[in-house]
């Protein structure tokens, strides 16, 4: 009962979990749920990277376009702060910027034109005019080139810089700027720089577009080097509050640790795994170090809730499965133990079956000499009772027969006992001929009843082998029985003939046992399967197909080998090669 429970409970638990798990797994396809989530995140973050890069590239192109604007170039060339008509020029250019340039780009916040010293000379926003922006990163990046460095090698017309997001001094709104160099028409020498300023929340728009793909609990946000938010992520608690550049993400250490930022590993997506986001909610995250000057980091996250449930289910399944496996292993170990025992029992039962099958013959074998003992004694008693008086010469042959018969009985019973004796696994030296003789004592008469004659061609040297005599006797017994069956199936064999030959090769220390018959023979196609368990050509109920496989395993146990030669219709010879221990035997003698 407990045994059953032990099997049933894990099985029930297993079923209980496997069904929802199966539903869970089948729905999103074959890929594991978690893997699927990560790939979703990777795709999203990649998409967003592409979208933002395209946007930025567009802006870069725009600022280069502005730089090639002749009016701006002329303006910068002609600008002289000390000139009388400076204000007029600035007004003109500002007007040009606002009227012709500013309107082109809807996202543009303002345009600034800086001179070589970083001072704002023209702008769409009059407040910026005259400001010194020489310390701003978008100027600092360009300033070496503006000062004439790398003039020959760098194509200044293509040099563009995208700044990090920052707060303008007088504005609460965060910006980022794209700057490029304005060169002189004739000489190509730098004149100044155009700086296009964009409000940072533009980025949020693109991020939101990318989030759509991730579904309800997915979010994407951008961080700058320092870990400040560049976009407002979903779920960020401060409602309506500007978070850009004001909020640092606490989860960043994890992200930094995982991506290796800011040490500056290679750009590209990285799976961050499972961690707690700014809300303290477990998420699966993927980060992507964007390929731009400021090492922006795009993070895509998705709530791990369903994943945890799935994980839990997987965990439970694993526990159940491993429990079942442990249980199974125990049972397998037990079974293999049992199998080992069963194997030994099989040897024994195979033998006992043979003995059982023989019991009729054995009874006959014993009953005949018993008649010689019992009935002859009765006869003597009757003769005595008659009182007629008989001469001792009549009595002697009767007593001789009785004695001889009794000796025969003893011999048979001893052989039978030896034969049915349980093999104890101990290897002892014995004479091969002795084993053959014992088996013939038991089986000989049975064979005679079936018109089968056993010819013994035993090597007088009687090779000694080491092993379990009981097991080898069984092998001989079974092979003789098989031979009998083969002979009975052979219509050509009028008289059955089984030849048992022993041989000895002292050089190779090998003893040979041949058992040949003139039976029906074995078809070639069956030769290979001969020693396979349960292979039998006998009709159902007549053979288990275990005989030869048992023989094979006994032979293996003795480091011996067995081979077969057979010709259809003519007969079969089994040859067993055993390692001999002749010397040992001689030494003892």
């Amino acid at each position: 009962m407990t045994q059953r429970l032990r099997i049933f409970l894990p099985a029930a638990a297993f079923l209980l979990f496997i069904i929802p798990a199966a539903i869970f797994f089948v729905k999103p396809g074959r890929m594991l749920f978690k893997e699927r989530l990560f790939s979703e995140l990777l795709i999203s973050v990649n998409n967003m990277d592409r979208v933002i890069n395209t946007f930025i590239e567009g802006k870069k192109g725009r600022v280069l376009d502005f730089c090639s604007d002749g009016i701006i170039k002329d303006g910068l060339t002609n600008y002289d702060p000390d000139a009388v008509d400076t204000d007029e020029l600035v007004k003109q250019i500002n007007h040009h910027l606002t009227k012709n340039k500013f309107v082109i780009d809807l996202y543009l916040e303002s345009i600034m034109v800086l001179n070589l010293k970083g001072k704002v000379v023209f702008s769409t926003n009059e407040k910026f005019l005259g400001k010194d922006n020489s310390k701003k990163d978008y100027f600092l990046y360009l300033s070496p080139y503006l000062k004439g460095k790398g003039l020959r090698t760098q194509n200044l017309n293509l040099l563009v810089y995208v700044s990090d997001v920052f707060f303008a001094q007088d504005s609460k709104a965060p910006y980022f700027c794209v700057s490029a160099i304005v060169t002189a028409r004739a000489t190509g020498l730098p004149l100044g720089a155009v700086v296009n300023c964009y409000k940072a929340n533009v980025l949020s728009k693109f991020v939101k577009m990318g989030e759509g793909y991730l579904g309800g609990s997915g979010k994407i946000y951008l961080l700058n080097k320092e870990g400040f938010l560049l976009t407002a992520p979903k779920y960020f608690s401060q409602q309506g509050k500007e978070v850009i550049l004001k909020e640092k993400i606490e989860a960043l250490p994890v992200i930094v640790a995982q991506t290796g930022l800011p040490a500056g590993r290679q750009a590209g997506p990285q799976i961050l795994g499972l961690y707690k986001d700014f809300r303290g909610v477990s998420v699966l995250g993927v980060a992507m170090l964007m390929d731009n000057e400021n090492n922006w980091l795009a993070v895509a996250e998705k709530d791990a809730g369903p994943v945890i449930i799935t994980g839990l289910i997987i965990f439970l399944i694993l526990i159940t499965v491993s429990a079942s496996i442990i249980n199974l292993q125990k049972r397998i170990r037990k079974k293999s133990q049992e199998a080992e025992e069963a194997k030994n029992q099989l040897y024994q039962s195979g033998k006992m079956a043979a003995v059982g099958q023989l019991s009729g013959t054995i009874a006959h074998e014993i009953n005949n000499p018993l008649t010689g003992v019992l009935n002859n004694i009765q006869l003597l008693k009757m003769m005595l009772a008659d009182g007629k008086g008989f001469n001792p010469e009549d009595i002697k042959p009767i007593l001789d027969t009785a004695e001889e018969s009794a000796a025969r009985c003893a011999n048979i019973s001893r052989s039978l006992l030896d034969f049915s004796h349980i093999a104890d696994g101990k290897f002892n030296p014995f004479q091969l001929n002795e084993a053959v003789e014992k088996v013939i004592t038991i089986i000989g008469n049975e064979m005679k009843q079936h018109n089968i004659f056993i010819e013994k061609r035993l090597d007088p040297a009687s090779p000694r082998v080491r092993g379990e005599i009981q097991l080898l006797e069984q092998v001989i017994f079974d092979l003789i029985n098989n031979a009998k069956y083969a002979i009975q199936k052979n219509p050509k064999a009028k008289v059955g003939m089984i030849t048992i030959k022993t041989d000895f090769n002292p050089g190779e220390k090998k003893a040979y046992l041949y058992i040949s018959d003139n039976g029906i023979g074995i078809p070639k196609e069956n030769m290979e399967k001969l020693f396979t368990p349960f292979f039998t050509t006998k009709p159902v109920g007549e053979g288990t197909g275990l005989g030869l496989s048992i023989i094979h395993s006994i032979i293996r146990r003795h480091n011996a080998s067995i081979s077969v030669e057979s010709e259809l219709g003519l007969g079969t010879t089994f040859k067993i090669t055993l390692p001999s221990c002749q010397e040992e035997a001689n030494g003892r003698k």
Partner: protein, 241 residues
């Protein structure tokens, strides 16, 4: 003259111990004994001499006891056969066939007096038989069992369906059939003797010994069939189902 008659016994066994013992024992009962080793020798012996009683071992190399019994019967119908066996499985069959007059001894012999009894019984019968040769034919050495059984028959090797018939009595040697056909004496028949419930059957062949009009059933004939081949274990199953 009658008193001088000596019972002649044939012992057929492949085992010397048995032959020697029976030879000694039967000699002590003032009967003549001849021992042979196998069926072939037995047949030859019976052809040469007339025996009254034969001890047959069932399991012998070559021809088995049943086979020998059939052959001996053909040569000498008056020979009473006693079977011997050392096999436990065969005793059960003999137990069931007792009613058909089969006598079987287990080896070793439990009671030598039983053998003595048989000997004296046969002695009595053979003395009776001595009087006329005809009476030997009439005298049944095996009893008849009066049971009604269904039997299907057809002439051997004739491509015709089996015809139904009834038997009124059956013995170890033959059967009396009630048939519609007027069969010719000497015809060999194939017979299927069925048990009362038709659960088991026994396939045999037999020769028509005699045929005459049935007294009680008009249009029917009584036919005496002698078995030529019969499987005794099947027959015992049919009778004692």
């Amino acid at each position: 003259m009658v008193e001088n008659k000596v019972l002649k016994v044939l012992v057929v066994d492949d085992e010397k111990v048995i032959r020697d013992f029976l030879s000694r024992f039967i000699s002590l009962q003032s009967a003549q004994v001849m021992t042979v080793e196998d069926g072939q020798q037995a047949i030859e012996a019976v052809r040469k001499e007339k025996f009254d009683l034969a001890f047959l071992d069932i399991r012998m190399p070559g021809m088995n006891g049943w086979h020998v019994f059939n052959e001996l019967n053909k040569i000498s119908p008056g020979l009473f056969c006693v079977f011997m066996t050392g096999y436990a499985t065969e005793e059960a069959l003999f137990e069931r066939m007792k009613n058909l007059g089969i006598v079987c001894f287990k080896k070793p012999f439990d009671n030598l007096n039983q053998i003595k009894e048989i000997l004296s019984n046969i002695m009595g019968k053979s003395q009776l038989c001595l009087e006329t040769e005809e009476e030997i034919q009439e005298k049944r050495i095996y009893p008849r069992l009066d049971i009604v059984l269904d039997v299907d028959y057809r002439i051997k090797e004739a491509e015709e369906p089996f015809k139904p018939a009834k038997t009124k009595n059956i013995s170890l040697r033959g059967i009396k059939l009630l048939v519609k056909d007027n069969l010719v004496s000497g015809t060999t028949l194939e017979l299927i003797i069925k048990s009362p419930t038709h659960k088991s059957s026994c396939n045999t062949t037999g020769n028509v010994l005699w045929i005459k009009r049935a007294k009680e059933n008009e249009g029917y004939y009584d036919a005496g069939i002698k078995f030529t081949e019969i499987n005794f274990s099947e027959l015992s199953a049919v009778i004692y189902e």
